[in-house]
């Protein structure tokens, strides 16, 4: 704010910058939402300080130390550890297999509008592209609006306990997310190189190969790696509904009050997530140079 000659500060934003018409109304609505959420979500910090709760926390803390680091237990946990990685990798692969084709179809610039479809003014041809576009967007939306835990719960019912329902859950839920992100990336390519290729007589495939893909594939790979990081964390938790991996072991040990085993498992999980984050971040840094 620059002072005017009279010393009063001047609003440096032009008058056209809109202010909310009823600031008090918005403030009121916000406070009401906050209050309602507080009540309905049963937020009660007192419960945390309840003697019973404190006792349970203290018991968990006391019994979990020292962590169970016997070679026997660690040897047993090797398989679930590897299983967690396998679930995340296979889940991400399936997510790509679902997300890539649906994401391509859900991109308006590839299916029905823009430079690749300049002459399709006839309604029949526009609809021909519009239909798969709308359907794939709806499918992707349904896939990602159901959380992977719920998917896992349903797949456990369908194919039984073990890592496979975890793989399917991650594949479907993340397929929905990846497809959405892929289509966002595709919609946002720089159109100028495409125009140049189009103007020199390149075919649609040629424009996609030399104009669209080089601009998008590095971003696809980078985002897919990031999703793989998320899949590691998710697959660890999916075990709680019986879908294999470290999560299932955490759940078992919890149920048997073997808190020292729980601590070991949480440490393993932490090490795994940190390692994957590190590897993935390095790879992404190399692939998606700005």
């Amino acid at each position: 704010m620059a002072p005017t000659p009279s010393g009063a500060p001047v609003d440096r934003f032009p008058a056209s910058v809109s202010k909310p018409a009823f600031p008090w109304l918005l403030t009121g609505a916000f406070l009401l939402t906050l209050w309602a959420s507080l009540r309905l979500a049963e937020v009660d910090p007192g419960k945390l300080l309840d003697p019973d709760a404190l006792g349970n926390v203290a018991r968990f803390a006391r019994e979990s130390v020292p962590p169970d680091l016997t070679p026997h237990f660690l040897g047993l946990m090797l398989r679930p550890l590897v299983e967690t990685v396998q679930i995340s990798v296979m889940g991400t692969v399936i997510a790509v297999l679902i997300g890539l084709p649906l994401g391509l179809l859900a991109t308006s610039s590839l299916t029905w509008s823009g430079i690749l479809h300049e002459r399709q003014t006839r309604w029949g041809r526009v609809l021909l592209g519009l239909m798969p576009y709308a359907v794939s967007r709806a499918v992707l939306s349904a896939f990602r609006s159901i959380p992977e835990y719920v998917w896992a719960f349903m797949f456990v019912r369908a194919v039984g306990l073990g890592p496979f329902p975890g793989v399917l859950a991650i594949g479907v839920a993340y397929g929905g997310i990846l497809g959405k992100v892929y289509s966002e990336i595709l919609e946002n390519v720089d159109p100028r190189p495409l125009e140049a290729l189009h103007a020199q007589g390149a075919s649609k495939a040629g424009i996609v190969l030399y104009g669209v893909l080089p601009q998008t594939v590095p971003l696809f790979v980078s985002y897919t790696l990031y999703r793989w990081e998320c899949a590691i964390r998710a697959s660890a938790i999916l075990g709680f509904v019986g879908a294999g991996g470290l999560g299932q072991q955490v759940e078992l040990s919890m149920r048997m009050f073997q808190f020292n085993e729980v601590l070991t498992l949480l440490m393993l999980l932490f090490a795994l997530v940190a390692a994957v984050d590190f590897v993935s971040a390095r790879l992404r840094g190399r692939i998606a140079r700005p």
Partner: protein, 274 residues
């Protein structure tokens, strides 16, 4: 080469970008198009390279009415027209070799185009084109690591690989510094002359146009204001062309001191009767 009869382009919003332009451009002819910004020069070029369809009038390419062309035939005709843009319109993430070889896309089959991305086979062709524009050493550089002027050379190399009959350059030097502008304009002119290509250049700078082109087409408000050789261009004509565009009028100031200082500098290329 080109015959335009009362060609017009009205955009969906109702803006009349090109308004009844009639022109004839012969094979291997070289001409500069000048005019204030917003005059419709870029739209005219996009009509000429067949990426925009006119709303009225006829555009004949070698006697063929382009409105009658089907999708495939249109694509083949586009292959005969090479366009160079102000912002070079290259893919920055690709290596130079691929951006240059993309000039082949009008001819290549899809599998061929695909395999070339994996392992470029015609590197010799790309190398030769880059040598012609003076940067042979950049073959495997990442395109967005080059300077603006070098990227514009890559764009010219892409057109060389395309080997079209017409080169359309839409403000090719507006984003490079003045000394490089002269280099690129002369490069385009010489390349077009060597292989007898038609060259149409849309130029922001009047002195470049007058100094290097044997035919000057002035465009204002979507119409052709004049179409003359540079020695017939007078200060009044230019003032009329740029009237109301004060920034662009300023470049005419040298005209106020003595007669046309640029017309004399024009060196018509051999083979061009005025």
């Amino acid at each position: 080469m080109y015959e335009l009869h009362e060609l017009s382009k009205v955009f969906d919003g109702g803006t009349v970008a090109v308004d009844g332009v009639s022109l004839t451009v012969g094979r291997a002819e070289q001409a500069a198009v000048i005019g204030p910004s917003g005059a419709g020069k870029t739209t005219l070029f996009r009509l000429l390279n067949l990426t925009l369809r006119p709303t009225a009038g006829r555009l004949l390419l070698d006697g063929v009415d382009t409105a009658r062309l089907g999708e495939e035939a249109l694509r083949r005709q586009r292959g005969r027209i090479g366009t160079i843009y102000q912002h070079h319109n290259l893919v920055g993430r690709l290596r130079v070799v691929h951006n240059v070889l993309a000039g082949n896309l009008g001819r290549w089959s899809t599998p061929r185009a695909f395999w070339s991305l994996a392992r470029p086979r015609d590197t010799g062709q790309a190398e030769q084109a880059l040598a012609q524009v003076g940067i042979p050493e950049k073959l495997y550089a990442r395109t967005d690591e080059l300077s603006g002027g070098q990227q514009q050379r890559v764009a010219v190399a892409r057109v060389l690989v395309q080997d079209p009959d017409v080169i359309l350059a839409d403000e090719p030097v507006s984003s490079v510094d003045p000394s490089l502008a002269v280099t690129i304009v002369t490069l385009l002119r010489d390349l077009a002359h060597e292989s007898r290509k038609t060259l149409l250049v849309n130029l922001h700078s009047v002195d470049l146009a007058l100094a290097y082109f044997p035919r000057i087409i002035g465009v204002r408000e979507g119409r052709v204001a004049f179409d003359l050789s540079p020695d017939k261009i007078t200060e009044e004509l230019l003032r009329g062309l740029y009237a109301g565009h004060r920034d662009e009028e300023r470049q005419l100031e040298p005209f106020s001191h003595g007669s046309n200082p640029f017309g004399r500098a024009c060196r018509p290329l051999p083979g061009f009767g005025q």
